[in-house]
């Protein structure tokens, strides 16, 4: 239906419930209907990194049998930045996702993923870390679908957020839809603040509050990029995220 493409989503739509309503109301419907397509061939390994830009970016990825798609993303901007990823996994394929949202002010930063285990033996692992301050929001909406024949699926997702002050928020909505019976699906979520015991321990060794905070955030975010094979790339991604921290929260 042509009119469907011109219909803007609202925060009443499940997949947009934590989005920035003001941004949505002013958005260009054509942009919202666009998808970038990525095909990972059988047996191929592909690693993409992404610094999420303001607005909405959507990726639709198909990973053929035995292929592997790694995606590592830093979402450090505003006022609204959303990376949406749909991945379809064939037999024995793997999807690895590491994402960081980090920001202050009124930024709304989110990752929305839908991972379809369409065939048996596929695996997926998603780790998202959020650090928010000011009145910002970090979101992770992760949907995992395991079709009826996708036995031996192993899917995991984990979300943790640290809120540096009252007023910042984080939302997560894990959704698992499993139609096969021999599968492993794990998900975990936690929202908290920086550990004051660690902060005092660091201070007692001479680290000023800013440096201590940065070190703690660095360690917290590192989980999201633990699967990055290249040490330099991992530090570069963490550096992009931590630079954001320096400007605002400290």
């Amino acid at each position: 239906m042509p009119e469907a493409a011109t219909l803007l989503p609202t925060t009443r739509d499940e997949d947009w419930r934590y989005a920035d309503p003001d941004w949505l109301a002013a958005a260009d419907p054509v942009v919202l209907a666009e998808w970038e397509e990525i095909a990972v061939l059988a047996g191929e390994t592909r690693c993409n990194t992404c610094e999420v830009a303001p607005g909405v970016r959507r990726l639709r990825v198909s990973v053929s049998a035995g292929g592997r798609f790694d995606l590592f993303a830093v979402n450090a901007t505003g006022p609204y930045a959303r990376l949406e990823v749909e991945v379809a996994l064939a037999d024995g394929a793997h999807f690895e996702f590491g994402g960081v949202t980090i920001g202050g002010g009124d930024a709304t930063q989110e990752f929305v993923t839908k991972v379809v285990h369409a065939e048996p033996n596929a695996t997926s692992n998603q780790v998202v870390r959020a650090v928010q301050w000011g009145n910002s929001t970090g979101n992770f909406l992760g949907r995992i679908e395991v079709v009826k024949d996708a036995q031996k699926t192993d899917a995991a997702q984990n979300f943790r957020a640290i809120l540096l002050n009252k007023g910042a928020s984080a939302n997560t909505k894990p959704e698992l839809e499993i139609f096969a019976d021999d599968v492993k699906c794990a998900h975990g979520a936690a929202i908290g603040e920086l550990d004051p015991q660690i902060a005092f321990y660091m201070a007692a060794r001479g680290l000023p509050p800013q440096a201590a905070r940065k070190l703690q955030v660095h360690a917290f975010l590192a989980d999201a990029f633990a699967a990055v094979g290249d040490d330099d790339l991992r530090e570069k991604l963490l550096g992009i995220a931590l630079d954001q921290l320096e400007e605002g929260a400290l």
Binding site: Y201, A203, R205, G206, P209
Partner: protein, 253 residues
């Protein structure tokens, strides 16, 4: 070196504030080791935390002078930078941060505060290796996240390695001996002597047991009870306590 005068302090908790220190007075001179012993709940750990500047520990009266400056006016990280080391009874785990990274950043932050040049990676590793060796700690452990997966004894040993690397002029060691087996106790005792026995340094050892004092001979032993020093004496006071218990010894106080 460290002069505590009429110190009163209270601790904030969920059930309200509780007064723990009630007019504690104590002076440790350069080159001296003082031991503080006392029954549970006397305020020993509170004293350590107050001197370290832990949030929630509020001084309501009295003063603390450290090497001529008002210690209580400094933030916790500044107290470390001017040479005060607090050895924790329960060292904290820091997942994701290696000992090497943590200590290098801490040491260089202290040096920066004092207007000294930072140590390079190579210089730091050399120093860390030397101090880990002194405490018979495997260098591999220094590369692991701070205290994560360490046994109780390893955590205490790690505290002493940290003390060696940071090289403070004064150390407050809060039950550093608890959780150590006999061999580790000797290693830690020798470590304290090697790092802190110096005419320009001082140590305040908080302990429950006399055993550590066999290795680290104190110049003065104090008994802390109900938030104040009730009795002070030489090393023989610790032996007397071990033999007769707090009730008997304090009855003569």
């Amino acid at each position: 070196m460290l002069k505590i005068t009429n110190l009163h302090a209270q601790v904030a908790s969920d059930s309200g504030t509780k007064k723990i220190l009630n007019g504690l007075t104590l002076e440790v001179g350069a080159g001296q080791v003082h031991a503080i012993m006392g029954p549970n709940g006397a305020g020993k750990s509170t004293l350590a935390y107050v001197l370290g500047g832990r949030p929630g520990y509020e001084v309501t009266e009295g003063s603390v002078t450290f090497m001529g400056q008002d210690l209580l006016a400094l933030d916790p990280h500044e107290r470390a930078a001017v040479g005060l080391f607090l050895g924790f009874q329960y060292p904290v785990e820091i997942p994701g941060v290696s000992n090497v990274q943590f200590l290098r950043e801490a040491l260089n932050a202290q040096r920066k505060y004092r207007g000294e040049e930072p140590l390079s990676g190579g210089e730091f590793l050399k120093l860390a290796k030397e101090k880990a060796g002194l405490l018979k700690m495997d260098m591999d452990m220094l590369k692991r996240p701070v205290n994560v997966g360490f046994s109780g004894g390893e955590k205490k040993r790690n505290e002493m390695v940290q003390m060696g690397i940071l090289n403070p002029s004064f150390a407050i060691l809060d039950e550093t001996d608890s959780g150590l087996d006999i061999d580790a106790l000797r290693v830690v005792g020798d470590g304290i002597n090697a790092i802190m026995r110096d005419p320009a340094k001082g140590v305040l050892l908080i302990t429950h047991y006399q055993r550590l004092l066999d290795y680290v001979q104190p110049d003065v032993v104090h008994i802390l009870a109900k938030g104040r020093i009730v009795k002070s004496g030489g090393p023989e006071l610790a032996l007397e306590l071990e033999r007769e218990g707090y009730d008997t010894v304090m009855a003569d106080a």
